[in-house]
């Protein structure tokens, strides 16, 4: 059985941000609002040690597409809105979602409100009606009246919200999610279905991300996993993530 997963090589990753931005432009995710990040790809920054041995690690994070997905377990609707596909993607069906946020609450990599409790990221965001994640493209106020544009005008002129909206189709999710559903990384299933790689993989200038079938011993992803020491986030939660990290973001040993 296929189990899609991702290997992120931290030796190669420089924490530049291209994956997160590539994701935003592919999946048309909104801006941070109402305690939700809407960053399907994000970063967790860890600082350790003291000068001159101090280090800063910028760890790229995304949905772990867990084999034992707590979000799926928690989804109360039937058939489940959050579910595992045959190829191991933790998928979200927008139509069935009732917006209860049980998935968000259950996921060990998500928080209900990013502005509370000090979490750095949340895999799942909740697109509550009127939350304002596209307020940049809705604002009616010009910084110079009559001289500069407004979000509302830009949306009208481009006939799209966001204006850079990438149009694609998928049976389970919309390229811009409707209000009152949760949303998260779906491994760009609409791309994978066409034989393309997830956008965060192809936009990575360091070639640090490898996507593939972890159950296929011949896949590059599986080979990398076998050949390298690796770790996953929050192993103790028992979710069996399918995003694995190899290498080390920091090389420096000496001062």
């Amino acid at each position: 059985m296929t189990q899609y997963g991702m290997i992120i090589d931290l030796d190669k990753c420089v924490g530049c941000g291209a994956c997160a931005l590539g994701c935003k432009t592919e999946n048309n995710t909104g801006d941070r609002a109402g305690g939700q990040t809407f960053n399907w790809a994000d970063f967790m920054v860890t600082e350790e040690g003291r000068f001159p041995r101090a280090t800063t690690t910028t760890l790229p994070v995304l949905c772990n597409h867990c084999s034992n997905a707590k979000c799926v377990e928690a989804c109360p609707v039937e058939p489940k809105a959050m579910f595992k596909t045959a190829d191991g993607i933790t998928m979200h069906n927008d139509e069935r979602c009732i917006g209860c946020q049980s998935c968000q609450e259950a996921c060990p990599y998500s928080v209900l409100d990013i502005s509370e409790g000090g979490a750095q990221y949340s895999v799942i965001s909740f697109n509550e009606d009127g939350i304002g994640n596209f307020s940049r493209f809705e604002s009616k106020t010009a910084v110079i009246a009559g001289g500069t544009s407004t979000g509302e005008e830009l949306t009208r002129l481009t006939d799209a919200k966001p204006a850079h909206r990438t149009e694609y189709r998928h049976p389970d999710y919309d390229n811009v999610r409707r209000p009152d559903v949760t949303e998260k990384c779906i491994f760009c299933a609409h791309r994978v279905a066409e034989g393309k790689l997830p956008r965060c993989v192809v936009v990575c200038p360091a070639e640090a991300r490898v996507f593939g079938d972890l159950s296929d011993a011949n896949s590059e992803a599986a080979r990398l996993l076998k050949a390298n020491k690796s770790f996953r986030l929050n192993e103790k939660a028992g979710t069996q993530p399918n995003v694995h990290y190899i290498g080390s973001f920091v090389t420096r040993k000496n001062g």
Binding site: V45, P52, C100, I144, P205
Partner: protein, 841 residues
Amino acid sequence: MRLRRRDFLKTAAAVGATALTTGPRLNALAAAPITASSGESKGRWVATTCQGCTTWCPLEVFVQDGRAVKVRGNRHSKQNDGVCCPRGHLGLAQVYDPDRVKVPLKRTNPVKGRGVDPKFVPITWDVALDTIADRMMDLRRNGEAHKYLLMRGRYTYNRDVIYDAMTKIFGSPNNISHSAICAEAEKFGPYYTEGLWDYRDYDMDKCKYLLVWGCDPVSSNRMVPSAIKRLSGIVKRGTLAVVDPKSQTSALKAQEWLPIKPGEDGALAGAIAHEILVNGKWNREFVGEFVDRKNLFVPGKVVDEAAFAEVHTSGLVKWWNLELKDRTAKWASKRTGLDAGQIKRVAKGLGEAAPNVAVWLGPGACMQVRGGYASMAIHALNGLLGAVDNEGGTLDKAHIPVLKMPKLDAYLDDVAKVKHKKIDQRGTKEFPALAKGKPGGGVVTNNAARGMLDADPYDIKMAIGYMNNFTFSCTGAQRWEEAMTKLPFYVHLTTNASEMTMFADIVLPCAMTTFEKWGWVKGKQNRYAYASLLQPVIDPVFDVRTEETEIPWLIAEKLAERGFTNLLDFYRNEYKDSDTGASAKDAKDFARVVTKYYLSPIWTTEKGKGGDLVGDWDEMVARGMWNSDPYPYKKRWGKFKTETSKFEFYSATLKKALTAHAGKHKTTVDDVLETCKYTARGQLAFIPHYEEPFRSGDPKEFPLVFVDHKSRLNREGRSANTTWFQEFKKVDPGDVSWDDVLKINPLDAKKYGIGDGDMVRVTSTTGSFELKVRLWEGVRPGVVTKCYGQGHWAYGAVAATEFGKIPRGINNNEIMPAEYDRLSGSTARNGGFTGIKLEKI
């Protein structure tokens, strides 16, 4: 409210089947129907170029229904291999910035100043252009054409049309580029050692030891995607060492971090050179050998010049005798704050891996007062190690077959032929600006504000600025606010209402680079030089024009209507479609014709020579770029463009330039150096040497050193109005998203009783500012650092806390005073020359 709704739904779901059917039905009302099929909707990738930094990456933009939706590197690019850095993606948020200027504007409030509402009102293009042309004709009529100033910011090589041709034919010497605010000191060292007034390319694929100095190549500095891709390879196969007072990403990836005291770079360079020589690790093939093969470089001992036979270099023994013989690691350790053992280890590592090594000279090492000599000292290491034009070393760029600007001479009338001095005071005794060996040959961008304020050499009556924002981007930014307040008539060509726009009398909305305009650039990365074009991948969102071509054409038409036809004649007669021979039909067509003209040798006269074979213009537009063949190793050995044709450790080239400058002012080189704030006298003036760092502010009053650095998300100060820049600001080590923080070492914080997140008053010689503090172990104690890019008080609703009034954070350029490396004309910036004091509020 939200939580209550969630709890209700959960409870309802738990009750049973009724709730389960209610849920979906309830939401289905709001849902757009989800189609059964899967995949990307129709669209096409269109080639263009990124201008988010000066790497200038060839790009492609995915266009759906006339909208730009995604960005990637150009598939044909041998520089970025089809993948761009984060800046490429950020461009989308700029072209679709809701705060863009959408129509021409006229100021109705005659009072100018920061925080003053200009009371802009919309006007037509025709009225705007008439107003501009009338002012220009007035100047010509009054014999004051030279009092017209053109300020250039971000450009493409179509710049000639507005920057050179328009200014010169109109009759002014004042075309002032932005170059010296971020670069020229970095070019100074390579020029006065190996005759290269340019950035270097670095052969990262073959490099075995990379010493990065004063920059973070995976964040900025001119070959970003190439460096991101290749940095880990160097760490794997060899050694990466980084010299920087703060730990940015390269320093985290490096095996060696040398957290140097700011401004002491010349001391470290001298010690590394000393160690290399004493231990006999110089590259024999490039540098040469002692005649009797015995190493006479003994610490403290003078060497007979005749004892060493140089090959491709000149002046090694002079350099040793005058400077290096006493520059021990122990001596440098005291100056730099680095461990002497580490200095020796790095020198040894470089020597052992030579010549497949590179010393990557960045702006932090030399964009400071007296930085020109640090620039020379650091780059000279490449000469010593035989790394210049060598495998794994530092390279020039291959030939790019493009045309030059057509000759102007026939279009210069009597007004235009009169010689006047330039407003930036270049070439005066205080500002040698020795670009390419010529006294006054380079621009002193930031000093134009002083020229304008002092009306020295004369007053400026009218200025046009394009894609520049000197009131934000120049150190001592407050002086620019004063200069702009004093300027009687200013026309700003811009995409956003930036800080400089707020001083404008006329605002002309411009096409967004990458997405909406024609243009072209030259570049190099990874041994391949290239020409890459920019084209309108979408129809402009607003009523905008291209600043470099369309707008000067429109102005030329208006000047012609008023009887001055030379400019329009030049544009019509000299820029012709290279296929049809036809002149441009109109302004819009002119933008395309000019681009086509410059690039034409690629598919006509030099078709296939030295690089990609491009069949015709259509193919050029489709592929967007031309790659050179790989740069040949050792290409310039024996024929460097220096006075001696050698790599000069004793710069005969600098001696000639400095002597000429002194002669022009009927004085001595020593007097020039004193005037320009350098400490060197005598022969030291002509060799790479150590100069004590210059600090603005008495260290007793201003005990900490402020260091400016760059953001990997900065698009030359223009991306702060995007939510994506703010959201992911945390990818700059030590920074905080949606904020602007002063990063200080906890040891210093303790001294001042400051905690993480506290507000402090920062005082430099320019003024006092309130900022939030972030405690960060990644910065050397005694140094405080802040990323450039925030502190906008205009630009848009995201960049500023309150547009026109309250900045988001503080612009670093208000904290740092206007100072210069006067030999290069460079503005002092990243090097850490500003003393500050901190007080907890």
